[in-house]
């Protein structure tokens, strides 16, 4: 079981509650960036390039709790920057556990072993360790030799002490499926609870797009990685999202599923595109022109994006929004990805009926909302945001 039953139940009942209430847009995973400072400077990371006085700023625990309470999402992902640098990370985690939020603390694990004493193992707390592959690939991606060894040692220690540990991996153009599979074997041997993965964000206007996966190449890569998965691999992600990555399922983005809050405010419209900021979650939901975003919107910034922060929420909505989605999720969980079929040409592996009784369309437009049972809430430190791309254009 990739996630505890209590977490799956919390997410299921939360989503169903919104379905019954008829909520059009609701959050599933709050992406909380308490600071931008990081102790790594990974190639192409668009999250940490700011003037020094911005890097010195942090969200206070009070600001965080106010945002978490307003948002209401059952899961909170804490990327950054490197959250373990935050001097009040202990208080932040304790406050979130007290609120019964399932936390994914995303870390490069450089400080993890040293800071484990700050935390108490809990079903609510997961360390989501950024691992971009085996030693060679990971150290290359984070631009520093030896980090893979540091991270794996910290993972082992955290597991030994009873913490939940997952990995999150971003895959770029040129990733070798055989090496990725070997990486999954290794993480499984180490004993992580589950693994998460996502393609890097792709923006068609970016000059460096050759390194970001286009949709068809994304599907091809993930098909090669996942078509014949090993039984012992555990993914902390919605199986329907993994099917989407393999091109066996067509979904539309639900950017409100993983709203982002940081020192600038609530980020419009999503974790990857920083097009502006508002001061409340209510404003974010009500004032963002959501129709301007997503694969089918025609927005070039969204054309090739298949990143978990936009689509895993959609997959979870499918699981709990349609009988068919639920049945497919159960089937994939029990039988693995080999049990699924390629798309029928209409964008869906098959049709389905909503839990409210209405017939779903076969083009994927019915899918509205949020994130994952197994939640790919883990950040990737390789999400290039829009500013990063524009800078890439200047340089």
């Amino acid at each position: 079981m990739p996630v505890p039953i209590s977490q799956a139940w919390t997410v299921a009942s939360y989503v169903l509650g919104h379905k019954i209430k008829g909520t059009k847009r609701y959050p599933l995973v709050l992406m909380l960036e308490p600071l931008f400072r990081c102790n790594l400077e990974c190639a192409g990371c668009g999250k940490i390039q700011y003037p020094e006085h911005i890097l010195k700023r942090r969200l206070s625990p009070e600001q965080i709790f106010k945002a978490v309470d307003e948002c209401g999402a059952p899961m909170v992902s804490i990327p950054g920057g490197e959250p373990l640098i935050h001097p009040e990370i202990k208080e932040i985690v304790e406050g979130l556990v007290e609120r019964k939020k399932y936390i994914y603390l995303c870390t490069n694990a450089i400080l993890l072993k040293r800071k484990l004493d700050l935390f108490t193992p809990s079903k609510y707390l997961t360390f989501s360790v950024h691992m971009d592959g085996l030693k060679e690939e990971h150290d290359h991606a984070v631009c520093r030799d030896g980090i893979y060894d540091v991270a794996t040692e910290a993972i082992r220690e955290a597991i030994k002490r009873g913490f939940r540990v997952t990995t999150n991996t971003t895959l770029f153009e040129g990733a070798d499926p055989v090496r990725v599979r070997a990486f999954f074997d290794e993480m499984t041997r180490i004993g992580v609870e589950g693994m998460m993965m996502s393609p890097g964000y792709s923006y068609s206007h970016a000059p460096d797009q050759q390194h970001f996966l286009q949709r068809s190449r994304t599907q091809d890569l993930f098909s090669k990685i996942l078509s014949n998965p090993k039984k012992e691999w555990a993914f902390n992600q919605s199986p329907l999202f993994l099917e989407f990555l393999m091109g066996r399922q067509d979904y539309e983005c639900t950017p409100w599923g993983n709203p982002t809050y940081n020192i600038f405010g609530w980020q419009k419209p999503c974790y990857l595109l920083g097009e502006g900021y508002v001061s409340s979650f209510k404003e974010l939901i009500e004032e963002t022109e959501w129709d301007n975003y997503g694969h089918r919107s025609g927005n070039p910034k969204c054309a090739n994006c298949m990143v978990h922060c936009g689509y895993e929420a959609t997959a979870v909505d499918d699981t709990f929004g349609t009988w068919n989605g639920f049945a497919r999720t159960v089937k994939l969980t029990l039988l693995g990805f080999g049990a699924s079929k390629p798309l029928n040409g209409n964008g869906h592996a098959n049709g389905g009926v909503h839990l409210n009784g209405s017939r779903e369309s076969t083009n994927g437009h019915h899918v509205k909302s949020e994130a994952p049972v197994g939640c790919g809430s883990g950040c990737s430190h390789h999400h290039h945001d829009e500013k990063e791309h524009e800078h890439a254009g200047k340089n």
Binding site: P51, I54, H211, G276, E388, H391, N395
Partner: protein, 99 residues
Amino acid sequence: MGDLSTDIEKAFDYRGDITLALKDGRAIVGFMSNREPKGAVRCRDPFVEMMVAGSDEKQLFKYSEITKIEFTGEDTAAGKSWEEWMAKEEAKKKNAIKT
């Protein structure tokens, strides 16, 4: 105002500090964290938000108060794209082979 709006968009995308020259003669140096060309609940007129070193609060200035924008701080993202990093890596490899 057309040029100013364009400069504001560039300033919002810039990963360094900028200097706003205001009609009252003040010069505000800081990071432009947001701009709202249509206004919002907290200010109905178009405005920008600035984070100024040494101040915890975001400062809000209406477009109509601004006379000029200068890109005075270092662009912290310059030279740090994936593409440039890959090019450097390739160069390193080639040098290693030569030596």
